[in-house]
């Protein structure tokens, strides 16, 4: 006889549900309410319908112009971070020792940047890259290169991208290292028998076997870099001018600097939808990986 279902345990989830409602759900609903209204302060709101969204999605308007500028900037930042961090992460993971005392030392050193709070990372780089007292800034200027991230947009971009690479490449390395360690020795032995060189081993064995962890790394790094706020805000404050004003920084300027709640709410909803889509792709990719693995195991057991 089938055991009757007992769903009383779901009641235990209630406290979490309440907490999420107050910390995420209700604020999110408020944002939706704001996005269709205009406010002149004093908690007075006026209906604006889809007005803010129309303005936001039209690059010819002031709001649309700054939104699309910030969006392209953020996408460029994410693309640069991925283009550097993924190949670099794979390269570093390939050079890490596979056994011995070096493994623990390497992993601890690599994990260090990941453990530093984001605002501290920003502060470290803000000082490190200063041309007057910063080691990096003074050294680069000492080499005869005019480097000043507070005035030169290119220098500001180089600084924030370098900071992100410094902060997050370790994550890619650790993921790739785990992926590499999971490859059975038999593959390498077979490659040796066939006389394959290092490049052939990388192309035919390591890279295909890293596909899953690399997908996770790319999606994680894309989401993180696309939502980046603290580090560039501490280093450049979005400047010089608007050169490093990414979407999140622009959103804060709009909502807290100008107190344009309606415009900011419309912008956050579009921003949130983009993130939500990437999150879904991430979820779908990882769960598909799991279901494929389960199917593979089941087929293997069947044979």
């Amino acid at each position: 006889m089938a055991k009757p279902r007992d769903d009383r345990a779901w009641v235990l989830v209630l406290p979490v549900l309440l907490l999420v409602a107050f910390s995420a759900l209700i604020p999110m609903m408020t944002v939706v309410n704001y996005s269709v209204q205009d406010s002149f302060g004093n908690n007075q709101f006026f209906w604006n319908g889809t007005g803010w969204f129309r303005e936001l999605l039209d690059p010819a308007t002031e709001l649309g112009g700054r939104f699309f500028d910030a969006l392209w900037r953020t996408l460029l930042f994410s693309a640069l971070c991925l283009l550097i961090e993924i190949p670099l992460g794979i390269a570093v993971a390939l050079t890490l020792p596979r056994r011995g005392w070096g493994v623990a030392v390497s992993l601890v050193v690599l994990a260090l940047p990941l453990l530093i709070p984001w605002n501290v990372v920003g502060t470290i780089w803000q000082v490190f890259a200063r041309r007057d007292i910063g080691l990096l800034g003074a050294a680069v200027n000492g080499l005869g290169i005019d480097y000043n991230y507070a005035q030169d947009p290119l220098a500001a971009w180089v600084t924030v991208v370098a900071m992100d690479v410094w902060h997050w490449t370790s994550l890619v390395v650790l993921l790739c290292y785990a992926g590499l360690r999971a490859i059975p020795d038999a593959y390498y032995q077979a490659a040796k028998v066939d006389g394959a060189g290092a490049w052939a081993v990388f192309r035919a064995i390591q890279l295909p076997k890293l596909r899953r962890v690399l997908t996770i790394a790319v999606l994680l790094r894309f989401m993180d870099s696309f939502m980046i706020y603290t580090e560039p805000f501490v280093v450049t404050g979005g400047g010089p001018g608007n050169a490093t004003t990414f979407l999140s920084i622009d959103l804060v300027k709009l909502a807290l600097g100008q107190f344009d709640l309606g415009k900011a709410a419309a912008m956050s909803i579009v921003y949130n939808l983009i993130i939500l889509t990437v999150c879904w792709v991430f979820f779908a990719t990882t769960t598909r990986g799991q279901s494929e693995a389960v199917q593979g195991t089941a087929q293997g057991a069947g044979r």
Binding site: D7, I26, M29, T30, V32, N33, V36, Q37, S39, R288
Partner: protein
Amino acid sequence: MALDWMAWTSETALFFALLFATLAAMTALAILRPETERVGILGLPTTRGDRLFLTLLGAAFIHLAWLALAGEAPLWGASLVSLIYGAAMFRWA
């Protein structure tokens, strides 16, 4: 009114009421008619909840695209497209 700080309007209240009603209906359906995952055109195992999520997410993008591209055309056009998209999702995804 106590909810003034959330700046409620009847339109947004109706929107959320419909959303929560949909979620409640889906929960009731999940209890009364339990289902198994299936693989559709997306090549992924999806449940009814997944298909609803994709429908809602897609509907949001359809409405945004409509606002950006359709000029002054009435917004219910986007809702109609979203309904067709949602039906396709539930049938084939």
